[in-house]
Symmetry: C2
Subunit: 207 residues, 2 copies
Amino acid sequence: MRLGAVLYNDFELLDAYGPLEMFGCLGEELEIVVIAEQKGGVTSSAGPQTLAEYDFEDAPELDMLLLPGGVGTVPELANDAMLTFLKTHCPKTDINMSVCSGSALFAKAGLLDGLQATSNKMFFSLASSQSDKVDWVENARWVDAGQYVTSSGVSAGTDMALAVIERVFGVDRARMISEFTEYQWHTDADSDPFAKFLNQADSAMLG
Amino acid sequence: MRLGAVLYNDFELLDAYGPLEMFGCLGEELEIVVIAEQKGGVTSSAGPQTLAEYDFEDAPELDMLLLPGGVGTVPELANDAMLTFLKTHCPKTDINMSVCSGSALFAKAGLLDGLQATSNKMFFSLASSQSDKVDWVENARWVDAGQYVTSSGVSAGTDMALAVIERVFGVDRARMISEFTEYQWHTDADSDPFAKFLNQADSAMLG
């Protein structure tokens, strides 16, 4: 099986690397590849760069796709190359996952219409304003709608990843990975301690 | 202020990127740089590559240093270039942090002698066998010994990072970052739900 992480400049580090840590523990059963509009360094919002080995033209077939969020989501909402890539690849990928504001991009591409989905709490309206045909769930750590699994903000993606590993590889495998990584796994998708911060974003809050 | 993440091939993704997520939320107050023995791509054990912008020769002065663990720790224990880099840079860096088996490298370099320190649970003896002059703490999420802060396995590094942010930037800042990243922060360094797995590594368990 193959999982592709689709990155773009100013993606949020943990959105990508929380899930990739958990999927990476599957070892040789799952190949992880990194895809971006152009090959080479993709700069996270925190600074460190990840190397994209595939671009949108030569990206391989995927079984799973992971789309992080981050402040870079906003310019990507107007990037036809990104939206076209998602519209082309997601429908033929078994499981498409987004973290945080990544669901805004899935929604903008029309991929979530008719489905339940969630997004990060503080900037929830960034996602929900992209499509009124999505059943947006405000109070959820993640939402598993089958082919599309969307998670709440940043850290929630790690719990979503373990839930997807449980679905595909079994609960024992997911539990072993959480123990190996000393991760206190939150197994209840409906328990969302951060729902109280809905749309309370304050760009100054992180100073 | 400047934080340097010191990477090597087969590092564990979340060891590096859990802490870097939290430190990255400090914004312009902290510059994050990536250092490795050679510039260019450093391959994680899960596959994705991070770009090192500095090598051991031109690494800048640091205020904080972050050293992840991973299966790549074992060959690095015999890498004089790595040990020399740590012996040269850590003593002049205010706060040196390790995650998981990273503390084995600090210990091998003699930097933890006379201090309390911890490491990941399943492979604890990899670290503790490097020096009998370290006061190894088996039951700890992380140990703050002042200039050296060592954390337990993988995910524990994220809690350690928030504790260091609390120490340097205040508890309000740390709490805001944990809320922004929707992270259920474990604030008790002495609470270690994974201590029961001490040295119970089974290389086949993730097989």
